[in-house]
C-alpha cells in the first residue's frame, strides 16, 4: 500500500531524514512517534509533495507519488492534516469540509457555476461528515476564530470528506484535553473500521497512539530506531530513551 524507501531530506548541513523506510499495509493504523525534530512532519511533507526529498521513493497504491505534482496527490487517495490546523478562515465550517471533497466536485469556472446538482450532493456529503464529528451545529459558522480543539476536528473532517484511502494525521490530539483526545481516538477508530482506510498518525500523546495504532514506528534525529507491534515498541529501551523517557 504505502511504501517509502530510503527517504532522505537535507536542510543545508542538517539531515532531517536519513534513508528512512516505512510501509503501511491496507487498513493498517501506524503510529509515528519521536521527539521534536525527529523528521515526522518532514516525512508527511514528502508524501504530500510539499517538499521534494533529496533521495528515496514513495509509492502508494501503485502510484509513484514523487512523479506527481502536489495537486494530484489527492487523486491518489491521500489526505492529511497539519500540526497547526490549516482551515480556511474565509469559509464557513461546512464550506471547509466541502473543499475536502474538491476532487469529486465539478471543476472549472463555468461547469462549477451551473452544477447545482453536484453542489447539492457535495453539501449533503459534507453534512454527513460534519454530523460524524459533532460539528453539524457549527456548519454555518465562519471557520475563523473557533477554539483550537474545534479547528482540529474541522480539519480532520475536511480530510475525511476527501474519502481517502491513506489518511495522514499530524498530531491530531495536540492541544486537546484528555477527554477530547479519547473521544477523537474513538472517532478515528470508528471511521477506520467503517472505511478500511490506512492511517498514519504522528503524535506525542502516547496513550492516544497506543489506543489507536497496532504498529508503531519511532524516529529520532532522522533515523528510524524502532518499527514493530505497539506493545513491543513501547518497551524498547532505545524508544524509551528517545521519547518516553523524556516525559
Amino acid at each position: 500500500m504505502l511504501e517509502i524507501g530510503r527517504l532522505t531530506v537535507r536542510y543545508g548541513g542538517v539531515t532531517a531524514l536519513d534513508a528512512v523506510g516505512l510501509t503501511a499495509g491496507p487498513g493498517e493504523v501506524v503510529g509515528l512517534i519521536g521527539p521534536n525534530g525527529a523528521g515526522k512532519s518532514t516525512l508527511f511533507d514528502c508524501v504530500t509533495r510539499r517538499r521534494a526529498p533529496d533521495e528515496g521513493v514513495i509509492r502508494f497504491a501503485g502510484h509513484d507519488v514523487l512523479a506527481r505534482p502536489p495537486h494530484q496527490v489527492a487523486g491518489c487517495g491521500i489526505a492529511r492534516t497539519f500540526q497547526h490546523p490549516a482551515v480556511f478562515p474565509g469559509l464557513s465550517v461546512r464550506e471547509n469540509v466541502m473543499t475536502g471533497a474538491y476532487r469529486f466536485a465539478p471543476a472549472g469556472f463555468w461547469r462549477a457555476a451551473f452544477a447545482r446538482d453536484g453542489e447539492r450532493r457535495l453539501r449533503a456529503h459534507a453534512d454527513r461528515v460534519l454530523d460524524l464529528f459533532g460539528l453539524l451545529g457549527l456548519g454555518d459558522h465562519p471557520a475563523a476564530g473557533l477554539p483550537y480543539g474545534v479547528l482540529k476536528r474541522v480539519e480532520i473532517a475536511r480530510a475525511v470528506a476527501a474519502e481517502p484511502t491513506l489518511l495522514l494525521l499530524d498530531e491530531p490530539a495536540g492541544g486537546l484535553g484528555p477527554e477530547e483526545a479519547a473521544a477523537l481516538a474513538g472517532l478515528i477508530r470508528d471511521l477506520h473500521r467503517a472505511t478500511g482506510m490506512t492511517v498514519v498518525v504522528v503524535e506525542h500523546h502516547m496513550e492516544f497512539v497506543l489506543g489507536l495504532c497496532g504498529r508503531i514506528v519511532c524516529l529520532d534525529l532522522g533515523h528510524k530506531i524502532a518499527d514493530g507491534p505497539a506493545h513491543v515498541v513501547r518497551r524498547d529501551p532505545a524508544v524509551i530513551a528517545a521519547c518516553l523517557g523524556a516525559r
Binding site: 510539499r50 495537486h71 480556511f88 474565509g90 473543499t99 476532487r103 475563523a144 476564530g145 477554539p147
Partner: protein
C-alpha cells in the same frame, strides 16, 4: 437560507459567534432584510427610466456599469484576496473595443461579447505570469498595466488624444422608448445577468477553492486545487467583467477617451469595492454608487474614505448587515 444575524453562543463550544458583517470578506449569506425587499429592488430598478429625468438616469446607468466592473474586481480582491490596480485598464480596453467596432458600423449587440473576450484574453495574458506573484508584487504588475494603457490608447487608437465619439444604441421604434431609457434597460439586463452568474460562481466549488487559496494555498493544493490555474482564471474572469463594463460604458456615454481610463479609475474602483464591502455582491452595488458620485480625488474625498473605513472596516455592506441586530438588542 434562513436569514438572521446570529450573535449567540454556539452549542458545544461556548464560543461567541462573530456577527455577520463584522469582518471584511465575510461570505455568509445572511441578509437581514426580508426576501420581498429583493423584489421591490428589482421593480424599482425597472421603473427607474420612467420616473427619472434624463441626466440622473444617465448617472444611474453609470452606477449599473460600475456594478459590473466591481463584481469582477470583487472576485479577485474580495474572494481571491489579490490586489489588482489594473482594472481601469481592462475597463478601458473593453470600452475602446466597443467604440472601435461601433464606429466601423458593427451592430451594438455584437460589441458586448467582443469587448468581454478581448479583456478576457488580456486578463489571461497578464494573469498567468502575474498571479504567480503574491500580494504587493501583483499590485505593482497590475499598476504597470494601468499606467501603460492610456498612452497606448492615445498613440494607437482611432481618435487618438481627442477621443472617439460613437453612436449609442438606438431604441427599437416598436418599444416607443427614448434611447437613454433603452440603454438603461440594456445595461440593467446585462448587470442582472452578470450579478446572477457571479453569485453562482462564488458559491460553487470553484469559488470556494479561490477563497481557500487565500487562506492557505499549501493546504488547498493538497486537496487537489491548482493555485496558479485557479487564480489566473479568476483574474481573467474579472478582466472579462471589466471589459463588459467598459462596453456598457461606451453604450451609455457615446464617447471614449484615454483620460477616462487612467490609473485613477483603477484606484477608484478598488476604493469603491473596499468601501462597499469585500466579498459581498451588495458591496459591488454600494461601491458602484461611490465610484459614480465620488468627487474628483482630493482632500474631501480622501477624508471621506478614511472616515468610512474607520467606521466600517467591513464596508458599508458590513454595516448594513449588522444594523438590524444593533437596533434590535445587541448593544454590546
Amino acid at each position: 437560507m434562513s436569514a438572521g444575524v446570529s450573535t449567540g453562543h454556539d452549542p458545544g463550544t461556548g464560543h461567541r459567534r462573530p456577527a455577520v458583517g463584522q469582518y471584511a470578506g465575510d461570505r455568509r449569506r445572511a441578509w437581514p432584510y426580508p426576501r420581498w425587499s429583493l423584489g421591490v429592488a428589482v421593480a424599482g430598478a425597472v421603473s427607474v427610466p420612467f420616473l427619472v429625468p434624463p441626466y440622473p438616469l444617465h448617472q444611474v446607468t453609470l452606477v449599473l456599469v460600475y456594478v459590473v466592473a466591481l463584481l469582477g474586481l470583487d472576485l479577485v480582491a474580495g474572494h481571491g484576496g489579490l490586489i489588482s490596480l489594473g482594472h481601469g485598464a481592462f475597463f478601458g480596453v473593453g470600452a475602446y473595443a466597443a467604440a472601435i467596432l461601433l464606429s466601423s458600423g458593427v451592430p451594438y449587440p455584437v460589441t458586448l461579447p467582443v469587448a468581454g473576450l478581448v479583456a478576457y484574453g488580456l486578463g489571461h495574458a497578464f494573469g498567468r505570469p502575474a498571479v504567480r506573484l503574491s500580494g504587493v508584487y501583483l499590485a505593482v504588475v497590475t499598476f504597470a498595466v494601468a499606467v501603460a494603457v492610456p498612452p497606448l490608447i492615445r498613440r494607437l487608437a482611432p481618435g487618438g488624444a481627442m477621443g472617439l465619439p460613437v453612436r449609442t444604441p438606438a431604441a427599437p421604434s416598436l418599444t416607443g422608448l427614448a434611447d437613454d431609457q433603452w440603454v438603461y434597460l440594456l445595461v440593467l439586463a446585462v448587470a442582472a445577468a452578470a450579478f446572477t452568474l457571479m453569485r453562482s460562481v462564488v458559491r460553487s466549488s470553484w469559488g470556494r477553492a479561490l477563497v481557500a487559496l487565500r487562506g492557505d494555498a499549501g493546504a488547498a493544493e493538497i486537496l487537489g486545487m491548482r493555485p496558479a490555474a485557479i487564480r489566473a482564471h479568476a483574474f481573467a474572469c474579472s478582466a472579462l467583467y471589466a471589459g463588459l463594463a467598459g462596453c456598457l460604458f461606451t453604450w451609455t456615454t457615446g464617447f471614449v477617451a484615454a483620460e477616462s481610463f487612467t490609473v485613477t479609475l483603477s484606484i477608484t474602483l478598488l476604493a469603491g469595492i473596499v468601501i462597499g464591502g469585500l466579498g459581498t455582491v451588495s458591496g459591488a452595488v454600494i461601491g458602484a454608487v461611490v465610484v459614480t458620485f465620488l468627487p474628483a480625488p482630493g482632500l474631501v474625498s480622501g477624508l471621506a474614505l478614511i472616515l468610512v473605513l474607520a467606521v466600517a472596516p467591513s464596508g458599508v455592506t458590513g454595516l448594513a448587515r449588522r444594523a438590524p441586530a444593533f437596533l434590535r438588542k445587541d448593544r454590546r
